[in-house]
């Protein structure tokens, strides 16, 4: 055993991140999924930019490109809806809504979940009990019902002079209700790490609690936040679809959920293309996020690394 060790080449030290990325690059499927996600992000950014800069494709989804309910053809690749609007343009426009909602909902949930989880884990005692009680109570309410309740309460309310409507209501509702999992995760990690030597060392140097939490503790389990973000992103896209389907999402422009809701009535009449296009758009991004999220977890999680 000792001889084997002597035969090993010296290895250059690598950080968790660079090691993780190197491993990720080796997984071809994960790389493909990453580029698919990037493609969706690029489409969403393009639609947003198109909207800001003027009324051109695909921001002008509400222009008739054919007769009502035209089946897919070279002219209208995904067919048309009841108004003769292009389904392809609606799918492209819906990408912006879905990704925007998922992104902002993720940010809101992280902004609430991380500080609360870290505070509960680090200080313990009464603070921990209160925070644990709050998130236990929230998590006891069925998730979709909770989002629905928040969406209904927030709908058409005014916040700092701005009216909450459409996508804003949706990502606020999702973000405000889905921080529990990340909070619980962070609390556990902080509980585990706060007894480690580097935390005692930081404390002996006179670092403040805030500095210990955010400068010393958090970077040590930030990979968990990244993994959680990628996996939750997908569930937020689904939540947006559900809310739009139930009539609580974006009203005046197309989203994937609204498209599925609208296509529900068309399906029995044989007009399958709107349902198919919206479902495919959701399926591809969900699959890509799922595979990429799993790969990210496998690459960044030190426990899995040790086992491997």
């Amino acid at each position: 055993m000792a001889e084997e060790r002597l035969q090993l080449e010296p290895i250059e030290g690598r950080s968790l991140w660079s090691d993780g990325i190197r491993k990720l690059k080796r997984r071809k499927l994960a790389v493909i999924c990453f580029w698919i996600i990037m493609l969706y992000v690029a489409v969403a950014c393009y639609v947003q930019a198109a909207q800001w800069s003027g009324d051109y494709w695909p921001a002008n989804w509400d222009v008739s490109t054919g007769e009502k309910y035209e089946s897919p053809s070279w002219k209208n690749f995904c067919g048309t809806d009841i108004f003769g609007y292009s389904i392809l343009r609606k799918v492209v426009y819906g990408t912006k809504i879905s990704l925007k909602v998922a992104f902002f909902a993720s940010i809101i949930s992280l902004l609430i979940g991380i500080p609360l989880g870290a505070t509960a884990g680090y200080f313990g005692g009464l603070v921990d009990e209160i925070i644990t009680w709050v998130y236990s109570t929230l998590s006891s309410i069925p998730y979709i019902l909770l989002i629905l309740a928040f969406a209904l309460v927030l709908k058409d309310k005014t916040f700092m002079g701005a009216k909450l409507a459409g996508a804003t209501t949706v990502y606020l509702a999702i973000g405000l209700t889905s921080w529990v999992d990340i909070c619980r995760l962070i609390r556990g990690e902080v509980l585990k790490h706060k007894q480690k030597e580097y935390v005692f060392a930081a404390r002996s140097y006179g670092c403040s609690n805030l500095r210990i939490i955010f400068v010393h503790l958090l970077p040590n389990f930030f990979h968990i936040v990244i993994i959680s973000f990628s996996l939750r992103f997908m569930s937020f896209i689904h939540a947006e679809v559900i809310l739009s389907f139930l009539g609580l999402g974006e009203k005046n422009s197309p989203s994937w959920g609204a498209m599925i809701d609208s296509a529900r009535l068309d399906l029995p009449k044989g007009y399958w293309w709107e349902m198919t296009a919206a479902t495919l758009a959701i399926l591809v991004i969900s699959l890509a996020l799922n595979i990429f999220g799993d790969a990210l977890r496998d690459s960044l999680d030190p426990k899995l690394k040790a086992k491997g």
Partner: protein, 597 residues
């Protein structure tokens, strides 16, 4: 594509179908082949079969087969005409319109039941009518039909106040006199009114106003809701609440005859072949409860139901080229029946709103940019009537002249917008339209309206609300425009024009419209009996509304129903409910169809 549609349909219906087939096959087992039997679908169970407490359409359908009312609509005549049923003739109204005499036919008997002496139904008298109207007034019964008599008959409101003072329902003394309701003899009723009520006969067609026997109410108590005892053509044989209602011919029914006159074309359609014959023809009627549309449609296609309306999802399967049956339906021998409904849908303006209320050119511009024909083509396959005014074509006061000047005119709308901007003092800000729902249909309507408004550079925000929120905002006047409508329970313009009266602001006038000339004209017409002058006054009221552009009237509904070839004398009605009595069934034809399909 058709195969796919059938597959989806099959999966959706399979569970409910099993139950429906089971019920229908069980009921078929008991049937004598010589009997004439009719099968019809109801979408919910009746809330009550007691005329005083029933309120749903399903209840009204069943009640009107068991109980007859003093008056009802003629089965064949259009426009709809009220004719006597229990009554011997139309009411004899005094010159001042405040007293009327209603005579009922002699020799009308309640059906036999254990509640009567020796189980034999006794003769109907006007005292039964008085008793039944008092039951509606009785606060303890919480009758949803009290509005019919509210503030109408002298002394009846006081009787209602008296019932409030009684601690128990059993304490109420029905022999207590009501000044305005007097039995001159067993067959003549004198009704004294607080003010002239020219539309009384339309209200007396409602099932709630029929005659109920006191013995039946005393005998069955609270369970009277399950034991209807009437004088009508059918008696309740069985009520299996979760599956079906079986009605059987009433052997004591002896006064009904098939009408001898109809509207133009009825003779050619064979609808007068049985003119003057005694009714009912059908011995037994089954109303099968089928809540979902797909199983109901499937059972109709299998020949297990005699008639059906067309579910939205199956419209293309049944109708093509606008208003014609598809070859598939024709091959099955199915017939299409269309009838107009007494309703109007609109975009209403809030006349108190500082932007739309004070700007008539703006409202007119909006009325010119809405392409109603495209709206109807898109959302109803062209099967609705385009509205040119408020009063629907089903009503006598409908003004055909209005259809000669179509309202869709974008160039004119643009001109009017320039005037509107001058009045407002600049560009018109974004307008808001309240929609009564959040479903796909409302969202599609909303998208349509947004595009139409965009034609003249108007930005439209759509506020999709659930029903309670929608009505709350309408009642508070917190809106600029709203999408809504009205459906009348009688073929009289009075019912829909009264929504625009200034006195209705707290009870239906969501336009917050006040116009003295309109109020005067309406008030004058509302106390007149049916005559050409009244028709002209109602048309004048409509013209005032159109001139003021209080709303953009969009469409009037048209209903489509299908019936099999073995159903004879079938003429659907928008206002009449107890129709099985006029129908005939060719059972041999039905059996042959069922064997084939």
């Amino acid at each position: 594509m058709k195969k796919k549609r059938h597959l989806i349909l099959l999966f959706a219906v399979i569970a409910a179908l099993g139950w429906g087939m089971f019920v229908l096959s069980r009921s078929n087992d008991k049937i004598d082949e010589n009997e004439m039997v009719m099968y019809s679908a109801i979408s919910s169970k009746p809330d009550s079969l007691d005329p005083a407490t029933e309120s749903s359409v399903t209840s009204e359908i069943i009640v009107k087969h068991i109980y007859d009312t003093l008056y009802d609509y003629d089965y064949l005549k259009r426009p709809y005409v009220v004719v006597p049923v229990l009554a011997e003739s139309m009411p004899d109204v005094s010159a001042d319109g405040l007293t009327c005499i209603i005579k009922i036919k002699k020799g009308l008997f309640f059906s036999d039941d254990g509640c009567f002496k020796d189980g034999k139904g006794r003769e109907l008298t006007v005292n039964d009518v008085i008793y039944s109207w008092k039951r509606i007034a009785n606060i303890k019964n919480l009758s949803p039909s009290w509005w019919v008599f509210d503030e109408r008959i002298v002394g009846l409101d006081e009787f209602r106040e008296y019932t409030k003072t009684c601690a128990l329902a059993s304490d109420i003394d029905y022999s207590r006199e009501v000044e305005g309701l007097k039995a001159i003899d067993d067959y003549a009723l004198q009704v004294r009114l607080k003010k002239a009520w020219p539309h009384m006969v339309y209200n007396l067609t409602k099932g709630a106003t029929t005659a109920v026997a006191k013995e039946a109410v005393d005998y069955y108590g609270k369970t009277i809701v399950n034991h209807p005892i009437g004088t009508g053509p059918y008696i309740l044989k069985q009520w299996n609440k979760e599956s079906y209602i079986e009605l059987e011919r009433n052997p004591k029914y002896n006064y009904g005859y098939y009408p001898t006159e109809g509207e133009d074309g009825d003779f050619e359609k064979g609808l007068l072949a049985d003119a003057g014959k005694k009714i009912p023809f059908i011995d037994r009627v089954y109303f099968v409860k089928i809540e979902e549309e797909p199983p109901s449609w499937f059972l109709f296609l299998k020949g297990k139901l005699d008639s059906s309306y067309i579910p939205k999802d199956n419209f293309d399967q049944a109708i093509s080229d606008g208003k014609k049956l598809t070859p598939e339906m024709k091959k099955r021998g199915i017939e299409l029946k269309m009838y107009r409904l007494p309703d109007t849908s609109w975009i209403g303006f809030n006349m108190d709103d500082p932007i739309v209320g004070n700007n008539k050119p703006l409202r007119q511009a909006i009325s010119h940019i809405l392409d109603k024909k495209r709206f109807i083509d898109l959302f109803a396959n062209g099967t609705l009537d385009e509205a040119f005014g408020l009063i629907p074509p089903i009503m006598q006061s409908y003004n055909e002249e209005l259809s000669k000047t179509p309202s869709y005119n974008v160039a004119k709308a643009k001109e009017l917008m320039e005037q509107a901007k001058k009045i407002y003092g600049g560009d018109i800000p974004e307008l808001t339209l309240k929609m009564p729902g959040t479903s796909v249909s409302e969202r599609q309507y909303g998208q349509f309206f947004q595009k139409e408004f965009d034609k003249i550079g108007l930005k439209l925000n759509i506020d999709y609300l659930d029903a309670p929120m929608y009505f709350a905002e309408l009642n508070k006047g917190q809106f600029q425009m709203y999408f809504g409508g009205v459906s009348s329970s009688a073929p009289i313009a009075y019912n829909i024009l009264r929504m625009f009266h200034s006195k209705s602001i707290q009870s239906g006038n969501h336009f917050y419209y006040r116009n003295e000339e309109f109020d005067r004209t309406f008030d004058k017409a509302s106390i007149m009996v049916d005559c050409p002058e009244r028709t002209e006054l109602y048309r004048k009221c409509e013209k005032i509304l159109l001139d003021d552009c209080v709303a953009v009237f969009i469409f009037h509904s048209v209903s489509y129903t299908l019936s099999h070839s073995w159903v004879e004398n079938d003429k659907p009605s928008a206002l009449q409910y107890g129709l099985a009595r006029f129908i005939k069934i060719d059972s041999a034809k039905r059996r042959s169809y069922q064997a084939q399909y």
